[in-house]
């Protein structure tokens, strides 16, 4: 774990955090906490092992702690549409704001698996070890998350939702 390798992981950590929590400032705070905890536990990291998976695991645990502490009512209600930069390609029939809104409505644990698959392209085994759950659980969360996201997106009229409320 040195500064060069950390720097290389930072954009991905931020992307995942942003996708998980929606709000930019909250996401960056989460990344910050992750790095702080990482440094404080640097002795536990085995050189040569996958730094990214290790950091993602730390972030996941922090997030779990956070949610446990704060209950469910303090999820950011921010307008994620304005936070999420972005235009999807024109051929995409999914409206960006719809997607961000639908994603935010997934249960946390399903969202995590979906994002690790989509953004990080982790294998199911890697996700299982990152999240500390059996691979069977990864599959059921992936399956339920994808289906739920599909239904959410199908049930929506594109462009009708500019604000994200969760």
């Amino acid at each position: 774990m040195d500064s060069r390798t950390i720097l290389a992981e930072l954009p991905r950590l931020r992307r995942y955090a942003r996708a998980m929590v929606g709000d930019r400032a909250v996401a960056d705070d989460l990344v910050q906490d992750t790095l702080e905890r990482g440094w404080s536990r640097v002795a536990q990291w085995r050189p040569g092992s996958d730094l990214r998976a290790w950091l993602f695991g730390i972030m996941h645990n922090l997030r779990v702690d956070q949610l446990r502490r704060q209950g469910l009512n303090t999820q950011p209600l921010d307008d994620a549409g304005s936070e999420a930069p972005i235009r999807a390609t024109q051929s995409d029939r999914l409206e960006v704001n719809d997607l961000a809104a639908a994603l935010a409505r997934l249960p946390e644990e399903q969202r995590a698996v979906l994002l690790l698959v989509a953004l990080e392209e982790m294998s199911y085994d890697e996700i299982a070890s990152t999240l500390g759950i059996p691979v069977g659980t990864v599959m059921s969360r992936l399956s339920r998350g994808r289906e739920r996201l599909r239904l959410l997106l199908d049930g929506r009229h594109p462009a009708a939702h500019l604000r994200v409320v969760r």
Partner: protein
């Protein structure tokens, strides 16, 4: 036709290209016969690609300085490092800041234990030394957490005794204070109380909306700092706090609501105070 039945796991593994060539061919054969399933998987594939597109721009954003700092190993212990928080440390939650300093300096452990014990008991024991370290946002958040969940006695004076409340608090704080009216934003005053601050009395006003969501305005007259500060935001666990300093007054608005809504209320409070 396949030897083994195609499972849900196979279908996802197909979307994520985790199948062997052989198995993939079997899934493809299955999908050719099951248009409904093929459509479903196509939707999943589209989802996956759309998620990637949606968050791709984050990768190209410039990195915040506070994160860049943390890419470096914690600094070696020096007197400078222990003398005070680093420049950006003010923005951090209190405990996180201490954890950084602990790593950096490795000397504040006993003190941190004291802080943790204090937090753990949720009690306010303002020894001078402790009080000096407690920033406005932290004091306000602790006061919010201690009193706002109280069903029976969240305040000392209820809003129907507002006159008395105002008189009493003004007297105790030694300066006229009055609670802003947040009715237009859906928050009604419940009442207020007097609290010990860093060096003397501070006031807390409590508001509630129709859903029972509570919000507290913490008002201190102890500010001795030279400059007025603009709006600042702090996250103290589940509590969000906007705080600002105006002359000798320090204001902190705390609630377990999201930053955007809290900012709206804070702006309204600020505007009303400006007009007075």
């Amino acid at each position: 036709m396949s030897q083994q039945p195609i499972t849900e796991v196979d279908l996802h593994a197909y979307v994520d290209a985790e199948l062997s060539d052989e198995r993939r061919a079997e899934v493809e054969a299955f999908l050719a016969a099951q248009p409904e399933e093929a459509r479903r998987l196509q939707a999943y594939q589209l989802q996956k690609e759309a998620l990637r597109q949606l968050f791709k721009p984050v990768l190209d954003e410039s990195l915040p300085a506070k994160l860049l700092d943390l890419a470096e190993p914690p600094i070696a212990p020096t007197m400078e490092a222990t003398a005070g928080p680093r420049v950006d440390a003010k923005k951090r939650p209190f405990l996180a800041r201490w954890s950084v300093q602990r790593i950096a300096a490795g000397f504040a452990i006993a003190l941190l234990g004291g802080v943790a014990g204090w937090l753990g008991h949720g009690q306010y024991q303002a020894t001078e030394r402790m009080a000096q370290m407690t920033p406005l946002s932290r004091q306000a958040a602790v006061a919010h957490v201690v009193y706002s969940p109280d069903i029976k006695r969240p305040v000392e004076f209820t809003a129907d005794q507002e006159d008395q409340l105002v008189k009493w608090l003004s007297k105790r704080l030694g300066t006229p204070v009055s609670p802003p009216n947040l009715g237009a934003l859906g928050y009604e005053l419940i009442g207020g109380r007097l609290l010990p601050g860093n060096s003397g009395p501070v006031a807390q006003f409590m508001y509630q909306d129709s859903s029972g969501q509570r919000l507290t305005l913490y008002l201190s007259t102890e500010n001795t700092g030279k400059r007025d500060a603009g709006f600042r935001f702090a996250r103290e666990g589940a509590v969000n706090v906007f705080y600002w300093v105006d002359g000798k007054f320090g204001y902190a608005l705390s609630a377990g609501i999201d930053k955007g809504e809290l900012a709206r209320v804070a702006t309204a409070v600020y505007d009303q105070l400006e007009r007075n």
